[in-house]
């Protein structure tokens, strides 16, 4: 057996995700091993990775509806009257007022990224459960992208925070945050937690498993 053919887990070694050290497990109990160098608790794979990832993902999907349907802020203005903005209506407003570039950025960060993130996580999780054999590279790349773009969905939460703070001029207008913003913030946090809980090594484990038992 040569390196390049076998995983650390296959060789009975534990790999530390903090400092990169490979070590022999000192104990056979699942929770009892710590990295001999940095002290991080070691596991063969992130514990309960799939269960946690699924839980956060389903919660995010449930909240995605109120996040998009409920208003994220209410505006009261002497000149323009009062109205409520959902994420989508805010984008439409930007588009109509001629700020196309900004409208597109907000659309990507607030609508597309969360939706694609949840879909991608769903695809990865289902693939791992079913035993992927061919698309490992695509799934691994997809996961890498998820890790990077997740935070950008917070954009609209920050926009609401800044607008609410600045527009407190009682005479002219007042902006207050609404329930949708809360749901939206929760969606962003939950999708990030779902991505973090997932262990990308499971993609390759699943492929290995499928390869060894092609008819199983």
């Amino acid at each position: 057996m040569r390196p390049g053919d076998i995983t650390a887990a296959g060789a009975g070694l534990l790999s530390c995700l903090t400092c990169g050290l490979l070590s022999q497990p000192a104990s056979h109990e699942e929770d009892a091993n710590a990295c001999p160098r940095c002290g991080r608790r070691l596991h063969v794979r992130k514990p309960h990775s799939l269960l946690r990832s699924w839980t956060f993902l389903v919660a995010a999907m449930v909240l995605y509806l109120p996040a998009n349907l409920l208003p994220i802020m209410d505006t009261e203005s002497l000149i323009m009257g009062s109205h409520s903005d959902t994420i989508m209506s805010g984008i439409v407003l930007l588009w109509k007022s001629g700020s196309w570039g900004i409208a597109i950025i907000v659309f990507i960060a607030s609508i597309m990224v969360p939706m694609l993130k949840m879909l991608a996580m769903l695809v990865i999780l289902v693939a791992v459960h079913q035993g992927v054999s061919t698309h490992c590279h695509d799934l691994a790349r997809l996961y890498r992208i998820l890790e990077i773009i997740g935070r950008w969905s917070m954009l609209d939460v920050f926009v609401v925070a800044i607008l609410v703070t600045l527009v407190q001029l009682q005479l002219l207008a007042a902006i207050t945050p609404a329930k949708g913003a809360l749901a939206f913030g929760a969606v962003v946090v939950l999708t990030m937690l779902s991505t973090m809980s997932f262990d990308p090594r499971l993609i390759w484990d699943s492929a290995e498993h499928a390869r060894r038992r092609p008819h199983g």
Partner: protein, 218 residues
């Protein structure tokens, strides 16, 4: 099973591989999943320390001064970084206020604090006592620092307000913009492997730079 010689495991797919020496700006990638295995070790702590010090000064400025002001009919309101989180909290959006406070102030402050805690003594040739904990914390909180997302949010807000009022950029805004680059540079130039190499030789194992230590006892 015994595998001899220096080995590393890919963080993304767990495949064991033998590290080889790298030249210049090459990056070693996993032979199976193409994830980054390691980059050349840069032993120099001057650059990360300089970026971190710059980022710390900018962070203090960005927090001390208003980021932006809004002028309508002679009345001006200003927003500070803390103020935006505080307003949400006061407007009955406590969870959201805490989230904004955490991602724009607490996490960047912890990041900079931990990096200074690590880099200042290491630069002087000493090893800080809580080194492993500090590196672990840095790794854990990294995804939650959202300075650059906040800047984009600021840009979007200013465009939205541009139609109805005059926007006055504040000292905090410029500091914040510069902070964005300083934090990115500090985090990018901060190579945790250098820290581990300076911390202590890996007992009972093979380190990520591919050195197996004599003291290893399986």
């Amino acid at each position: 099973m015994r595998l001899h010689g220096p080995l590393i495991a890919c963080r993304e797919c767990d495949l064991l591989q033998r590290p080889t020496a790298l030249a210049g700006h090459m990056v070693a990638r996993c032979s199976r999943c193409s994830g980054v295995l390691y980059q050349p070790l840069d032993d120099d702590l001057d650059r990360p320390l300089a970026y971190t010090l710059a980022a710390t000064i900018l962070f203090v400025l960005a927090n001390a001064f208003p980021i932006v002001g809004l002028e309508v009919q002679g009345q001006t309101t200003v927003a500070t970084l803390f103020g935006t989180a505080r307003t949400l909290y006061d407007e009955n959006m406590r969870a959201l206020g805490v989230l904004v406070f955490f991602t724009t102030i607490v996490v960047p402050a912890l990041q900079l604090g931990a990096m200074l805690y690590l880099l200042v003594p290491l630069h002087a040739g000493r090893v800080p006592t809580l080194l492993p904990g500090a590196v672990r914390m840095l790794q854990a909180i990294r995804p939650w620092g959202m300075t650059e997302v906040f800047i984009l949010g600021l840009l979007v807000s200013l465009v939205k307000l541009g139609a109805m009022a005059r926007v006055q950029p504040g000292v905090g805004l410029w500091s914040f913009g510069a902070l964005l680059f300083a934090i990115a540079a500090a985090v990018a130039s901060f190579d945790a492997r250098v820290i581990w190499a300076k911390y202590r030789p890996a007992p009972g194992g093979i380190d990520e730079a591919g050195r197996r230590h004599a003291s290893s006892t399986p």
